[in-house]
Point group: C2
Chain length 323, copies 2
């Protein structure tokens, strides 16, 4: 079977399509014949370092869609031939991949594998940050930074599903239009408008999901309503920055953050279970979709990484293993 490895760290040129033996599912695992895989920032981090996290398979790829090909001992929920998508520990860019049975979701009939491959990582990340860490409630005002990212475009949709009013930031009128079409009540072009002013006029944000960090931190504190939760998903403009603790204390804010990848299989299973119960019915009727920007065949995986790193895509970048 084909797999994609980065045996030395570096740019997209280090990616190699290699031949590997078929992996055998252990107890509580399934083997998926992969139809499509999502590209995520964690893959870029792994490629640059050339090192997979402890316990993860060495191949790249955190999420796939495909069909169940084999099941390990003690797996009762899944059977061979079923269409599924899953969050993985790694190894998703390949013809076959192993998944913990707790992190698997069924793919509804109307949804293509390329669409389904864009769902697991964004949905679990959004659920962790918006609901578990952010405690989003109906009627809350939610500010989603980087609305055009895979996570951002999903966060806008999930927040709307939960009955929140959603403001989001993006870098062009076209991207803002697409976010309004996805349901955002207010899309803010951060190159022309000040999000603090606009969100303050909306009464302040109860939950802020941020991927920018750096100069955004104190601006987030300023845009927050009393008692708000600010959840740091990433910090593309720097993780070392200044904070105004007086503002944090005065407004009783909570600043928090987490990473999905290092969490336990049990924790990911709990998130997957919540998504199946509370989000999947809406996914099945296409009320929430993975926004697909572009699909690359596996042979062009290096180009796919370059395209992803240029950060001009809107939504998800997908690898098609069937082409």
């Amino acid at each position: 079977m084909r797999a994609v490895w980065a045996e030395t760290g570096g740019g997209a040129e280090v990616l190699r399509i290699v031949e590997r033996a078929l992996p055998e599912p252990q107890a509580n695992q399934i083997r998926i014949r992969v139809a499509a895989a999502g590209i995520n920032n964690a893959d870029i981090v792994q490629r640059k370092s050339g090192i997979a996290p402890a316990g993860a398979p060495p191949g790249l790829g955190l999420e796939v869609s495909g069909t169940v090909d084999a099941v390990g001992e003690d797996v009762a929920d899944w059977s061979v031939g079923q269409r599924v998508c899953a969050l993985l520990d790694g190894g998703g860019y390949g013809d076959f991949a192993l998944a913990d049975a707790r992190s698997v979701l069924p793919v509804p009939d109307d949804i293509t594998h390329c669409e389904a491959a864009g769902l697991p990582e964004a949905l679990l990340t959004v659920w962790q940050n918006l609901v578990v860490s952010g405690n989003c409630q109906p009627g809350d005002t939610v500010l989603v930074h980087g609305g055009g990212s895979g996570i951002g475009s999903m966060a806008v949709q999930v927040a709307k599903m939960l009955g929140a009013r959603v403001a989001t930031t993006a870098g062009s009128p076209e991207r803002c239009n697409r976010l309004t079409e996805l349901g955002a009540d207010r899309a803010i072009n951060h190159n022309e408008e000040d999000f603090v002013t606009i969100v303050s006029e909306m009464g302040g944000a109860d939950v802020i999901l941020d991927i920018v960090g750096g100069p955004y931190l104190n601006r987030n504190l300023a845009a927050a309503r009393e008692g708000a939760r600010i959840v740091q998903i990433a910090f593309l403009e720097g993780g070392e920055t200044t904070i105004d603790l007086a503002l944090l204390q005065h407004k009783r804010l909570a600043l928090t953050g987490s990473k999905l990848r290092p969490r336990s299989a049990a924790h990911k299973g709990e998130l997957t279970d919540a998504i199946r119960r509370f989000v999947w019915p809406t996914v099945a009727r296409r009320g929430i979709t993975a926004v697909i920007d572009r699909i690359f065949p596996l042979a062009e995986v290096a180009d796919a990484h370059r395209y992803f790193e240029a950060r001009r895509h809107f939504g998800k970048v997908i690898l098609d293993l069937q082409n």
Copy 2:
């Protein structure tokens, strides 16, 4: 009746003992004949500015002990002559003060008024920060900075009552000894020892209560265990500081804070109710006490403020209205 006002902002010399009319309790208020009043940092802030917060009485003083002197309409829980202590909106440095009936606690027989006057503000602040914001659980490791302060010496005792293991910082061997006597498992002399090293050797802190801020913020992130809560009660060494968001995210930490004084009467009432149910039985058998450093007669209120601001006291500084 006597009251203490700061009509212009400034040093302790602006404090004036003035004559004022007896205040009349409104619905849901009681009037307390004050026996003793606690001195708090919020009093210093108010004196320096010369301005009481919106809605607060102009006189200084946030907590008192004494006897119920009159009750307003709709007050069923309290009767004239009863020994009580209370958190106030202000006006506690005086012969009589008004309290919202929800923020009043009965004073057990064995406890003097000077001791009881040191309980309300520290207990409500500790409950808000340790339990509500900090979600302290049995078996947690709690780090209390500034253990020798009124809040710190109370936090050590309450955290022990809740089944936590407690580390605390102070600035001398004598203060460390006193904190160990109050129940701290490990008292750290911050002039000679590195709290990050010591708390890390203990496995890291699940809850950190900090009054220092500034250079302590990233050291708190370093001393925290995965999933910990860091609660900013004050920031004596600066509120504008740098933060390492990568550490916050990597350990899934939550940084939060709040101020007690601006909270609603209903919120303070809820805290008071929790304290009456969960802490007061231990207070009644002297398992938790307000540590009293020094008692000043009302006539020496300016000296009491100067003494408090020198920050060499251990525990509470109290005004005695009966002398």
